[in-house]
Amino acid sequence: MEILLNALQKIKNTIMMKKKKLLFFTAMTILLAYIQACKTGELVEPENKKLTLHFSVVYKNSGISFTDQQFITKANDTIVPTEFKILFSKIALIRSDNTDLAIDNVYGFVNFKKSANTIVLDNIPKGAYIGLKFWIGLDSAINYGDPSVYEATHPLNPNVNGMHWNWAGGYIFSLHEGTYLNKGISEGYSYHIATPRFANQITIPFYLPFDKTWVEAHLYVKADMEKYFSSIHNYSIKTEGAGSHSNPAQANIIDKLNTNIQTIFSVTK
């Protein structure tokens, strides 16, 4: 009996030793796998990443103070821009296969007069992106909806953007104001592009390999105000009109400016 018990104890000890060894080897394997994974970043890198868009403005290569700086357009208008603001929606990143990654429910307001204009896009999947799309403007439901529903800091709160007329008129999508010289006299210009009819899709090409080497990414979106009046169309304030508040009868003005606006943005990393 005692011999039997000793034999059983030996077997048990052997199994326990084996178990311990097994546990040890398993733990070592997991540890090695973890170390290896950490080296390649696969475990610590999140699948989804943050992309911050930084907006800034220039006139050709010069900064704009929006106070009293004069510029001369290609149509020979001497202008002093005093305000440039845009509201945008329907942001999307263009994947390398030319499909869109739509970023839902993100709205942006950029006041180019202010120095800090950033919009953060969260949960961007890894991948290579070749462009950024957004609409300057809003769809009808949002445009004519109740602005009092937006929280205090939301881009669509009129107290944030100062770009809302009233319930009937909705929002101004892009606002560009300033003065120009008309026969030597300083007069105002004012282009308020509004109503869904004049919403304007912008596409900006770039290449961003948003892969595992990125923790978060930044894109710098620069607007060149020279192109607002001097791009596809050389718009003359003096002869073509010093303003429009987007009456449908003034579509000739808005369409020209919207075409130019499509060219003013560029992106750098």
Partner: protein, 374 residues
């Protein structure tokens, strides 16, 4: 399975840590609930957000309470803040005038005349671009202390005002209750006034009732509202007063809170306005765009109170805007670069009819906003 004492201790510690972590709250604007921050000794005061009004940023560092609002109300109506205890805030901000001064310029304790027309006080929680006609105070809390020290207003020092308050057993008890402080500071004083002033909400005009479907406009008022918003494009035979670019009705505020030159003067401005706050030449002649609410009670009009009637204001916008005024607001000059509006009498009448729908008789008679000393 048995759990020995050491395990129990460990589990207890883990539970405590987990509990603390779970209870830990990040006090930020997104999750701030003022009800949770008010001591039990105080009654929470919820600031009204009327229907149609825009959301505002909560003041997370000033806990609104009924006791705090009452304290601010007492300070507003008590002459104790002026150097010789003869004038209070309410001396120049009369409730029957929507908390402004019916005089062109207010008169301070020394008899000195103010330099600008007093501004009405209502819906201040929505002002986000500065206070005073030139916006020199960035927020209400900093604004309320300035008239106390202004030599042509209360002509006091904050230090002296605080000494007087700290000598009052009633005020020290009230400040202690509201702010838990035995010594009253400038910050406590400003916060108490801020609490009361933010309760001055005007939201019961006929316009407000119309958007709440409690009232309807008559034809003249409705025409006036349409004309108020309509754009003026002579080339397209479109006629409108185009008021809404600056006096936007969004959020029922009737101001964009911005600073503009509306063409009152030409050449050298006698008052440089916003320039005094920013030093920018492009801000010369610009003043804060006032709300158009309660116009029937807030005469005279403009930063210098030059117009005594609404008719005079309409005549100015109709016929007398100085189109060569430096820094004239582009939205104004856009509509009439080389011409004046030349409103007809009928157009003026309907505009005036609409503007009067913005009067709020309930606001100027609300006893909760009146002197607590009566």
């Amino acid at each position: 399975m048995t759990i020995n004492f050491r395990h129990k201790k460990l589990l207890f510690l883990i539970a405590i840590v987990a509990l603390i972590y779970a209870c830990k709250k990040d006090i930020s604007i997104s999750n701030f609930d003022p009800k949770n921050t008010i001591p039990k000794s105080l009654q929470y005061f919820e600031l009204e957000k009327p229907f149609g009004f825009l959301a505002t940023t909560p003041l997370i560092d000033n806990r609104f309470s009924k006791e705090g609002v009452l304290l601010g109300r007492m300070l507003f109506y008590d002459p104790i803040l002026s150097a010789d205890s003869t004038q209070s805030c309410s001396s120049c901000h009369l409730q029957k005038n929507a908390f402004t001064d019916p005089r062109q310029f207010s008169i301070g304790i020394t008899g000195a005349l103010g330099l600008r027309n007093g501004m009405p006080l209502f819906n201040l929680n929505w002002h986000n671009k500065g206070f005073f006609w030139d916006g020199r105070a960035s927020n209400l809390r900093s604004q309320v202390l300035i008239p106390i020290e202004d030599p042509i207003e209360m002509n006091n020092t904050i230090a002296n005002a605080l000494t007087k308050l700290n000598s009052s057993s009633q005020y020290t008890a009230m400040f202690n209750q509201v702010f838990g402080a035995k010594n009253i500071t400038a910050d406590h004083l400003a916060k108490a006034l801020e609490q009361f002033l933010n309760t001055l909400i005007s939201s019961n005009s006929k316009f407000d009732k119309k958007i709440r479907f409690e009232a309807a406009f008559d034809d003249q008022e409705a025409d006036g509202e349409a004309f108020f918003h309509a754009e003026n494009i002579p080339a397209l035979s479109l006629r409108g007063a185009d008021c809404a670019h600056c006096h936007a009705s969004s959020g029922s505020l009737f101001t964009n809170h911005d600073f503009s030159n509306n063409g009152l003067d030409t050449g050298e401005f006698s008052d440089l306005g916003r320039f005094k706050a920013t030093g920018l030449n492009s801000d010369k002649g610009k003043f804060k765009v006032p709300s158009l609410r309660n116009l029937s009670y807030t005469a005279p009009y403009m930063h210098d109170g030059r117009f005594t009637t609404i008719d005079q204001v309409l005549d100015f916008y109709s016929d007398h805007v100085k189109l060569n005024s430096p820094n004239l607001d582009p939205a104004m000059s856009h509509s009439r670069t080389t011409f004046q509006f030349k409103f007809t009498q009928s157009e003026k009448d309907m505009l005036k009819a609409f503007l009067k729908t913005l009067d709020d008789p309930i606001f100027i008679a609300d006893t909760a906003k009146s002197s607590p000393f009566k």
